[in-house]
Subunit: 316 residues, 2 copies
């Protein structure tokens, strides 16, 4: 469930465009007005506002937002203003240019979006970057990370509910064998995680738990500092319980000495229209503090207001 | 260019359905009428005929064709009656169930269809088989074959003409190094062939030829009997000059002691509406005999007539 709040009666895109234009006019910028409008419009409405703005003023709303705003607030508003597919293509492209930790962003997009949405991201990637997503991911990664990430971003998983229990049992056994041998990067482990449907993987991991007495992610903690192992655990989380994965990503971003604004913004912006309601509940349960309070404590100013509005905090 | 000949004025689908129904009626089947109709209708027309037939007679044209016809002719007509996307999904699925040689069919579909067509095949595969194409390919293959085929069927290649010459030079060098080391299954070789656009691969292989004095496929012949190496050469051919690949597939199918009807039918049926014109020219050039004569010498009866009609042979 989404946390984004769109007013039941909202003005036509012409009026929103005009208001945004006013927010940029003269000395200083009216940030509150920008939040009031953009943080309360869904993807289709924001798209229409961008189109109307371009048609009316002959300028790109994103460029104007870029030049009027700054730092974390700017980053959050710009990401939010993008269409979800464009945004994922942009985030994935940025991730291919950075190091280690950005592998998580690529995996997150590959594993938490629907098969069709992931395909649309790949299509958008062609249009924007004149290359394929898997091409850039393969080129910019090496070793075990490449072995895992390339099939993840290339997957077009079946999404039906059908589950083959025989297969679940036999593949649970394969996973257990490879984990016992510490062959975490074994092609069979990657094949199962990268090609099976989420329903089938869920059945397999339940079998794993039943047959071997441990959740698989417990058995993947032999070396808690190993980067590949933690990416593998995160992959499994994204495939089976994305709201827990996002809760943890928020927790780590907020609890860090010096907030990790990139991660905080990414999760809030990409999930506000999708599943942020469940993520908030998970967060509260796990941290004994509501997410809005944790965010308010760690951020400030317009950036804070923007994030709070997106997670549906009334007083924002 | 296609070889399929559709008459400039063709009857409405209702009439075609009725004629086909008549061809099935009474003792014996009117095979000539079936060829006269189906082998002269394009994919959209055949689809409409199937729909009209189902609406009029409450039966599936494919099932009726299946029960009325037999052996190689039956196989050719059934494959031809399918929509190209359905047909590829079916061929790929059949290939995952068979051994070694069928790896070629999977590679052929992955490498000679457009990115978008390959994606439509993957979508159709979900619908028909309740699994993903890459899932079945990964499950039914092992070792080097899996390493190569899974990324090939999962690819969504960029299709623009842009070429990065620096990259072409550096990746030609990588390919050459790996080939010198006989590391034909190296992940870098597979990365380049499975993720780069066809235009980029072409530029890279031209660089290879320029820098190292040999076409890459010559250097991949160290062991002419190695199955993986010949699949790798075929992959390169499919990506860079599919008409040559298809010519050779036809040549081997026809010259075999006992024609390989599966391969012959597959190439004729899948290419008749696509590129059969060039394939025929290649065939004539390479074998000093027109394709229609080679086919006529090796096949007979309705099967022969069906193939000749599809390759646009007038007297068929």
């Amino acid at each position: 469930m989404a946390t984004l709040k769109v007013p039941s009666s909202f003005p036509p895109a012409e009026e929103d465009s005009e208001q945004l234009r006013k927010a940029f006019a003269g000395w200083g910028t009216n940030e509150a007005l920008i939040i009031q409008i953009l943080a309360h419009r869904n993807a289709a409405q924001r798209k229409l506002i961008r189109e109307t703005y371009a048609a009316t003023y002959g300028e790109d709303l994103l460029k104007d937002l870029d030049s009027e705003l700054s730092s974390d607030f700017q980053h959050a508003v710009l990401l939010w203003a993008l269409d979800p597919t464009e945004r994922d293509a942009y985030l994935a492209n940025e991730a291919t240019k950075r190091l280690t930790y950005s592998n998580w962003v690529i995996m997150e997009i590959a594993c938490t979006r629907s098969s069709n949405d992931l395909f649309l991201v790949r299509k958008e990637y062609h249009a924007r970057y004149k290359r394929s997503l898997e091409e850039d991911v393969a080129y910019h990664t090496t070793g075990d990370f490449r072995k895992l990430l390339v099939p993840l971003v290339s997957a077009f998983r079946y999404e039906g509910d059908e589950v083959n229990m025989m297969l679940a049992k036999s593949e649970a056994k394969i996973l257990h064998e490879k984990i016992c041998d510490e062959a975490y990067n074994h092609e069979e482990v990657i094949r199962i995680l990268a090609t099976r449907s989420k329903a089938q993987i869920n059945a397999t991991l339940n079998q794993y738990n039943n047959q071997f007495g441990n959740a698989i992610n417990k058995d993947l903690k032999s070396d808690p500092k190993d980067d590949y192992l933690s990416l593998l655990r995160a992959t499994i989380k994204c495939l089976t319980c994305p709201e827990k994965y996002f809760e943890k990503t928020l927790r780590l971003a907020i609890n860090k000495l010096g907030t990790d604004e990139l991660a905080l913004t990414r999760v809030v912006v990409t999930q506000a229209e999708v599943n942020m309601h469940c993520i908030k509940e998970e967060y509260h349960k796990r941290n004994s503090i509501p997410l809005e309070r944790a965010i308010a404590r760690d951020t400030s100013g317009d950036y804070e207001k923007m994030l709070l509005a997106l997670i549906g905090y009334e007083d924002a």
